[in-house]
Symmetry: C2
Subunit: 381 residues, 2 copies
């Protein structure tokens, strides 16, 4: 049995004021090509189909269109859950009608802990729910954290689970553990939101969503697929992919990645303005990528964002490595009329005001020469 | 062929700050009983399923539950369109999956002008759309009003319409015409939002939504079903019902109404506070109805809303027939220390300040007597 594991589509996402919908449409069309080619027995989507509980209407249209293509046109069973960004209720609407074409969409957590069976594999669906919701649903006052909640839910599932069958949990949670985990990491993340990977031991494979990197956890059987696309510059260096799992009737599986190739990558670029605007440099660049540019120039620059956008139309964020002013550290640039300062003193004050670098003795020498020259010419007039 | 015509459910409606959802659930459960009893070949819902484009999640849950019961559990085909209160895109999500169980939900207007066929009847679905949307869809710049838009759409439908078959249009519009229409009425409503009933001539029956009274139009073949419930006090005296239509293969039909009986009616009540709080009066009342109460009392009343709510818990709106003060018409109630006014003059000033009625000579006489008595007693002390 072969299935594709994906998650965190975040349809309707807005990044630095730019809607990603057209990019998402392109990526999902590539996804559909992969589905057509791989012919999996199921597509598993582990939550955050939308970016927010009330997504823009074109994102609603897009999800409808893509799921219809996969499920109905390509006759591929779909197993999907709501993530923390989705509205459980709004996503659930109509889901009872979808089942006849093997589209199993679990928006709201319910008391049914029975799996959905697709081609011999049992899929246990755990849509995102706050600990308080699980506490109420299970009438168990001991549930306070996500760890408690997941443990209790898995406990319910284990009552009927046959360990000799292939069992897959589909969840949306912040899971820690496995090879890379150490106690510092758990502590630094802050306990109550996290779920330990050891809880998923009863399952042959755990298909997770929530963290956007497929490398977020190194574990044999508990895996994130990663998000569909890069959704922030902190993800610029992450790999984005979908996972292809082939599982036998014992639950043993092989796992491989396939990548999507978006027209617009999301990248960080660093350099001096002049260099970035130099054709020798930029002709080698993918100019239409979404960019965060960090300028290394000192001193004031005239309208750098518009100059950059003439070459790189999708600059989403511009930063200066050296802050032009840091008013708190410095005295303000005030000259009273009574003060008599030399031109060099005045320039030094101005320089330190406007840059963060030192007005070194080399610089002082150059400037003193310039001032002397100018004053001499003034005197000649 | 028998079908039920209903419209304007407005799920998630808020009336004077009170959510109608539980009332709507009760009414829809009665509706389901009628469906179970009548066993129609289709249920037609002519728009405004929700009250707004992003309805509260419990309204989403309710609609999902009710439609599933009608369509899947009672195996009844459903034909529904979006109204002006619905979001065409949000309502459309998933509708492609519904068709296999003969649930035809048309959220967005499309270029397909073919009818949905249910049990030998052709249903032409016209979801609500602004004239601009229709202009763009049909690429017809002459479309400016709802009248133009409906005329153009029906023109497209007529290209394929077989007048010897039973044809039903399902629409959501402000339709005028028929027996009660006269030019004043059309003028007073203001032209561009309205659609003339004569446009629907090609259809055996036109099932409309938008206006909340089933009597909004008197026409043999073009009818409103009216809303599910009363949704404002201006509807307090309207009949609320659903329409049962039985149609033969020529399109001839019989039409009758069935009523729902909500626990909470919406009514207006008028009287003096004392009378309304008198058990002799209120014991004959349905105390839990949603009420607009108009008090006829003159003068100041101490906390009337809370007194009334102890008897009538669902007072939604309280009005006074006589405004306590109308500051613009009267001089303000100022007494300067230098002024010497008689007690009677002072009382007259106070009385006219606090009521809108005249301080008649009868009243003056009574008051003069009282003042004289009091002053005499004061003098004796």
């Amino acid at each position: 049995m072969k299935f594709i594991h994906t998650a965190d589509w975040h349809l309707g996402k807005l990044v630095h004021g730019v809607y990603m919908t057209e990019n998402q449409r392109e990526a999902l069309n590539q996804f559909i090509e992969i589905v057509a080619e791989e012919k999996p027995d199921a597509v598993v989507i582990a939550g955050d189909l939308y970016d927010r509980s009330v997504p823009p209407t074109d994102a609603v249209d897009l999800l409808d269109e893509i799921l219809f293509k996969i499920n109905v046109e390509l006759s591929t069973p779909v197993v999907a859950i709501a993530g923390n960004h989705d509205s459980a209720e709004r996503l659930s609407f109509g889901s009872s009608w979808y089942k006849h074409s093997q589209f199993y969409l679990s928006g709201k957590l319910t008391k049914s802990f029975k799996p959905v069976q697709v081609n011999g594999v049992n899929f246990y669906l755990v849509p995102f729910a706050e600990p308080g919701v699980v506490r109420q649903l299970l009438e168990d006052d001991s549930i306070h954290s996500h760890q408690d909640a997941m443990k209790a839910l898995i406990g319910k599932m284990e009552e009927h689970l046959n360990p000799n069958e292939p069992n897959v949990l589909v969840g949306h949670a912040f899971v820690l553990g496995g090879q890379t985990s150490d106690s510092e990491r758990v502590l630094s993340v802050g306990g109550s939101g996290c779920v330990g990977a050891e809880l998923f031991e009863p399952f042959s494979y755990t298909a997770l969503g929530h963290l956007h990197s497929p490398d977020a956890i190194k574990h044999d059987k508990v895996k994130y697929s990663g998000s569909l696309l890069k959704y922030s510059f902190s993800e610029a260096k992450q790999n984005k992919s979908i996972s292809i799992i082939e599982m036998d009737e014992k639950g043993n599986f092989s796992h491989r990645y396939r990548s999507l190739n978006p027209t617009h990558d999301m990248r960080e670029l660093e350099g001096h303005l002049e260099e970035l605007l130099d054709p020798f440099f930029y002709e080698k660049q993918r100019l239409h990528d979404y960019l965060k540019i960090t300028l290394l120039d000192e001193g004031a620059l005239l309208d750098p964002i518009n100059k950059l956008r003439q070459v790189y139309p999708n600059v989403l964020h511009l930063e200066r490595k050296i802050d032009i002013t840091d008013m708190k550290k410095k005295q303000s640039f005030n000259i009273t009329r009574n003060e008599k300062k030399s031109e060099l003193d005045l320039f030094e004050q101005f320089y330190t005001e406007m840059t963060t670098s030192e007005f070194s003795s080399d610089k002082k020498e150059v400037m003193a020469d310039v001032i002397e020259k100018v004053l001499r010419e003034e005197a000649v007039k």
